[in-house]
């Protein structure tokens, strides 16, 4: 029964991934930790494997719709490990609380930029 519930949650996670272009880990990890009582590390690692497969299928679909810039995606993806290293260095130098508040501020700033676009009369000239 728990597995059925986890499958349904992951179905929703996949829909969210396709709709807004995220990997879906934000949904897959709690499906495993809360519903299936997996450990956090195991759930995150397994979620990464799922994200890889989901994003391959999602990209394939979006390529068909003409919604992918492969060159930009490759540059972003290949440079992300540098970010992981930067993150480790920063995590050792800055208190976690400050990092969380920093990310929250970045998220709010991005939300504001997006909302400005949503409510602008002409989305092409706003932002």
């Amino acid at each position: 029964m728990d597995l059925v519930l986890a499958c349904l949650i992951c179905l929703v996670g996949g829909i969210v991934a396709g709709l807004i272009g995220v990997g879906g880990g934000i949904v897959f990890v709690p499906a495993m930790t809360i519903v299936l009582s997996k450990g956090q590390v195991e759930a995150e690692a397994t979620s990464l494997m799922m994200i890889a497969l989901v994003s391959v299928v999602g990209t394939w679909r979006q390529l068909g719709y003409g919604n992918v810039n492969l060159k930009d995606a490759l540059v972003i993806g290949l440079l992300s490990p540098i970010g992981v290293l930067v993150g480790v260095v920063v995590a050792n130098a800055v208190p976690e609380r400050a990092l969380r508040i920093g990310f929250a501020m970045l998220a709010l700033y991005m939300a504001w930029r997006l909302l400005k676009r949503v409510f602008a009369d002409d989305p092409q000239t706003s932002g």
Binding site: L3, A6, L8, V12, G14, V16, A17, L19, I20, G21, V22, G24, I26, A31, M32, L36, K38, V41, E42, E44, A45, T46, L48, M50, L53, V54, S55, V57, G58, T59, R61, Q62, L63, Y65, N67, V68, L74, V75, I76, G77, L79, S80, G83, V84, V86, G87, V90, R100, I101, F103, A104, L106, A107, L108, M110, A111, L114, V118, P123, G127
Partner: protein
Amino acid sequence: MDSRHIWGLALIGTLAGAFSGLFGVGGGTVIVPMLIALYAYGDRLATGTSLAAIIVIAILAAAMQGGLYGNVDFGTGLILVGPAILGVVAGTAIQQRIPEKAVSLFFAILLIGVAIEMVVG
């Protein structure tokens, strides 16, 4: 591709990697809004390009975790990924049929939720 364009993409990739390494959130959550804000990408192009970048990010990270530490539960992952894949096919199809601005609105709400979780959680 000019150097300014590459530096901007480098910034997005670095931030996406840094925040996903730190908090487990940060791939698409960083890539989509930054592509829209920095490069004036349309919403659908931003989400499609984000998914393609996430392939590379997830494979690099999963290879490290699975290959080096053996933490991936392949049995559970393969069962759960079936419905997740059905979901992503449905999600991308739905996205083509709703207004582009709906994606931005949905994303803004998600970002506000993430911000609250970061501060309160």
